[in-house]
């Protein structure tokens, strides 16, 4: 007979606490732990009861939350009583995130070492701001303040949506990103300017070149020009080339008329700085007003161009990978859906000329498709390359099937880009390759001969 899962959960949590605090008085520590847990669950239960059916079903110990409604009788899961109504808590509390930058990484699983002080849930330490909450007298109220992260904006959240985007090649539209000439210096400064922005740090070289090329120079002739106005629709992201700007936020949420309409100055931005990046995601009202303080120059990038560059290159790459995969005889029985899943999982790697990508005799773990560049195949004891690979050729796919050592070495002769996937990755997505091969011909997998499918063996 196994222990009830709820019991195991509690004990696991207790074990964690014990390990963390190494209490000297173990019994006292455990007693405190369980009384806090009980308090927390009773309070939660009461809250949930406000919303439950009033058809009384007696209150029994086993019906407290934590018991499982699925494992007990259908009617017993949630008892009803009106022991006490709790005040609803205020919405719009303090603002901080459990994972915000300002949040200390240790705080999450940290609790004070005095057993009487810490709260079980550790929600108290969820964010620094929670600590400033006044201690309330013991009881349900106190438990609430201590164990809930009272820092999240509790309002209904609005959905967001950007312009509908469809890849050009799927709708016969020859779109190319706009290109605006820049000097090498400008290019380098721009690159440095956006380096810290996560939207740009994931771009590959080609995307990066296209995005930087698409930034358009925007001269700001004089001081006092509002480049963006708080509350307005936002379509552009800006990088400062030269000059300076002040940032204002009006607590009302939008720029207003009159001398104080700008609101409070919250910062300045100078060369290399940037603002308005949310506009690269979707059209949201501007969160601040940005005003020039002198003659300046900006680089501007609009959302549709930015997102389109990302989309077109992702789309092209997926179709290219799917095309490559169609040629892999070992995988010929994949459905288009499965092929697109594998294409999605392929990882891009780059090698300089002269790199040995796989080595004869090594255990094989991944298979490769040559996406760009050229490579040569060597076998021990043979001086000259036994084969050459170019774009679209693939090798090492037997690794998906078995752990046999590599039958040859493959060395790049130019800069190469390969798309690669490991056996574990493949199996995680689709299960063993053997099963997929058997779909076509049940005899094929067992009769599989390395010479037949592995170009390395040729």
């Amino acid at each position: 007979m196994s222990l009830p899962p709820d019991y195991s959960n509690e004990i696991t949590a207790l074990n964690r606490e014990i390990l963390k605090h190494q209490p000297s008085d173990t019994l006292q520590f455990c007693a405190n732990f369980f009384s806090r847990r009980l308090e927390s669950q009773r309070a939660e239960f009461l809250l949930s009861q406000q919303h439950s059916s009033s058809q009384g079903r007696g209150l029994a110990e086993s019906t407290f939350p934590g018991s499982n409604p699925f494992s007990t009788s259908p009617s017993g899961g949630f008892a009803t009583s009106h022991m006490q109504r709790l005040e609803e808590e205020e919405e719009n509390d303090v603002v901080a995130s459990p994972t915000a930058a300002s949040f200390s990484p240790d705080a999450m699983d940290h609790a004070q070492s005095t057993p009487g002080e810490d709260t079980f849930g550790n929600f108290e330490n969820f964010a620094d701001s929670a600590k400033s909450f006044p201690r309330q007298p013991p009881g349900l109220g106190a438990m609430d303040a201590q164990s809930f992260p009272s820092n999240y904006n509790m309002n209904r959240r609005t959905s967001v949506s950007a312009e509908s985007l469809n890849p050009a090649s799927s709708i016969n539209d020859n779109w190319t990103p706009p290109y605006h000439q820049k000097t090498n210096d400008q290019q380098a400064r721009l690159k440095a300017g956006v380096a810290g922005n996560f939207l740009f740090s994931h771009l590959d070289d080609e995307q990066s070149t296209q995005v930087l090329g698409a930034l358009q120079e925007k001269p700001i002739p004089t001081k006092g020009i509002k480049v963006i106005a708080q509350g307005d629709v936002g379509d552009y992201f800006y990088v400062v080339e030269s000059g300076a700007f002040d940032i204002y936020v009006n607590p009302s949420g939008k720029l207003e008329a009159g001398p104080d309409g700008l609101g409070n100055k919250v910062g300045t931005v100078g060369p290399g700085g940037s603002f308005g990046e949310l506009a690269l995601m979707y059209n949201a009202p501007r969160a601040a007003t940005v005003v020039s303080t002198q003659q300046s120059t900006l680089w501007a990038l609009d959302r549709v161009t930015f997102r389109r560059i990302l989309m077109e290159s992702a789309f092209d790459r997926r179709r290219m990978y799917e095309g490559f995969l169609e040629e892999v005889s070992l995988l010929s029985s994949l459905t288009p859906y499965e092929r697109s899943k594998i294409a999605d999982a392929l990882e891009t790697k780059k090698y300089p000329p002269g790199t040995t990508i796989i080595r004869e005799g090594d255990a094989g773990e991944s298979f490769y498709i040559l996406e760009a560049g050229e490579a040569e195949v060597y076998k021990r004891g043979v001086d000259k390359p036994v084969n050459r690979y170019k774009k679209g050729d693939y090798f090492g796919e037997l690794a998906l099937l078995n752990d046999a050592p590599r039958a040859a070495s493959v060395t790049s002769t130019s800069d190469v880009i390969v798309a690669t996937l490991g056996k574990d990755g493949f199996q995680r997505l689709l299960g063993p390759v053997e099963g997929i091969m058997r779909r076509n011909d049940p005899s094929k997998a067992s009769a599989l001969d390395a010479d037949a499918v592995d170009p390395l063996a040729r």
């Binding site: 899962p5 709820d6 959960n9 696991t12 949590a13 964690r16 939660e44 239960f45 949930s48 406000q50 919303h51 439950s52 059916s53 009033s54 934590g66 499982n68 409604p69 699925f70 899961g77 919405e91 995130s97 459990p98 994972t99 915000a100 999450m108 609790a111 849930g121 550790n122 929600f123 969820f126 609430d144 809930f148 992260p149 999240y152 904006n153 209904r156 959240r157 609005t158 959905s159 967001v160 949506s161 312009e163 509908s164 985007l165 469809n166 996560f198 939207l199 994931h202 949310l278 995601m281 969160a287 989309m311 992702a314 997926r318 459905t335 859906y337 899943k341 999605d344 995680r428 997505l429």
Partner: protein, 415 residues
Amino acid sequence: MAAVVHKLLHHDHHANREPPSQSSQTEPSNQSGQSNQPPPSPHERQDSAMDRARDEEKHAVAQWDEQRQPLEPGQIEQDRKWVGHSSRVLRQEDFELIKTLGTGTFARVWLVRLANAREGDQHKVFALKILRKVDVIRLKQVEHVRNERNVLGSVAGHPFITTMVASFQDHDSLYMLLDYCPGGEVFSYLRRARRFNEATSQFYAAEIVLILEFLHEKMGVAYRDLKPENILIDAEGHLKLVDFGFAKKVENRETYTLCGTPEYLAPEVIRNTGHGTAVDWWAFGILVYEFLVGQPPFWDQNPMKIYEQIVEGRVRFPSAMSSDARNLISGLCTVDTSKRLGNIKGGASAVKSHAWFQHIDWDALYHRRINGPIVPHLRGPADTRNFDEYEPESDQREPYSNDMAEKWDEFFRDF
């Protein structure tokens, strides 16, 4: 209420029964050669045949729930089912607007009662979602609205998805007639309780898994806006997924338009590398976390900081969370889609067999044989106490001009 329960759980032998009224199956669009025109206004056509058809249809609509029961996944796909049809005869005047249940940027949902209905039908209530064509066009949501209507029509009959009984339109508005779900939003319960205990979270999460399994694997649909605000509780305490504004039939192709709710966006949506049904599994992980903790794992006042955290994908757990729950959420909220639970081999069944769901009887759950943890208090089927109050609708509305109608009505033709 007992009667309703009986009806819902009663498996009669007429699951594939013919539509309640033949005349309600009006031919689409091509009547009178007005293929590009919305249905004529009542002032243009008053012939008695039309009135009779309308009366028949109203009665059929009123009686729709007489045969309501969870359809088996295979039955939902059938074209023969009556719910989810596009009506050419219903009009707004057929419904009396009682109270606003929710508002969006271009839509408003009303609790409505049948107006001038037959004896016995007068008390039937529905939720009527009204979308103004002008706003839909201005906010560039035409494609999304068409997707919404088509997806809702095709999924009608699933036990945990709001049933679109019918859709219709007039000159300036689009209408979706939905079943009224009197329990209100899971969001409201969650915010009041701050967080759900493990058993409650498991129950709701499990019903959501059944919805996603059906949408992804039977219908090829990505929902794309999972959050507590879009999940309602019905009279018996079961869930109903509503608001299919971003739902899209993606099949096995990726799609690129960014949409969703900031805290619930998947990393691939933010990075625009193409996304599919896997975004729903990510959002499902966020949802389970929010159930158990009371707030989503990634949050900041500045939305860009939320996105930065999402793309990085490091979820922190309160130490009280059970290891099964952590493991489930970590599996779902995995940045690499080729490792994300729900998207990897097995799909939804891999989620269903996760240890956190080990006590769920999935078949009993689908057939609504398991009691929900929260059963709303209701005075009657039209009770709206579980819905918040909303500002009245603004009187100032941009008109839907004839020029616009000429340009756009063809996009709404099948609505």
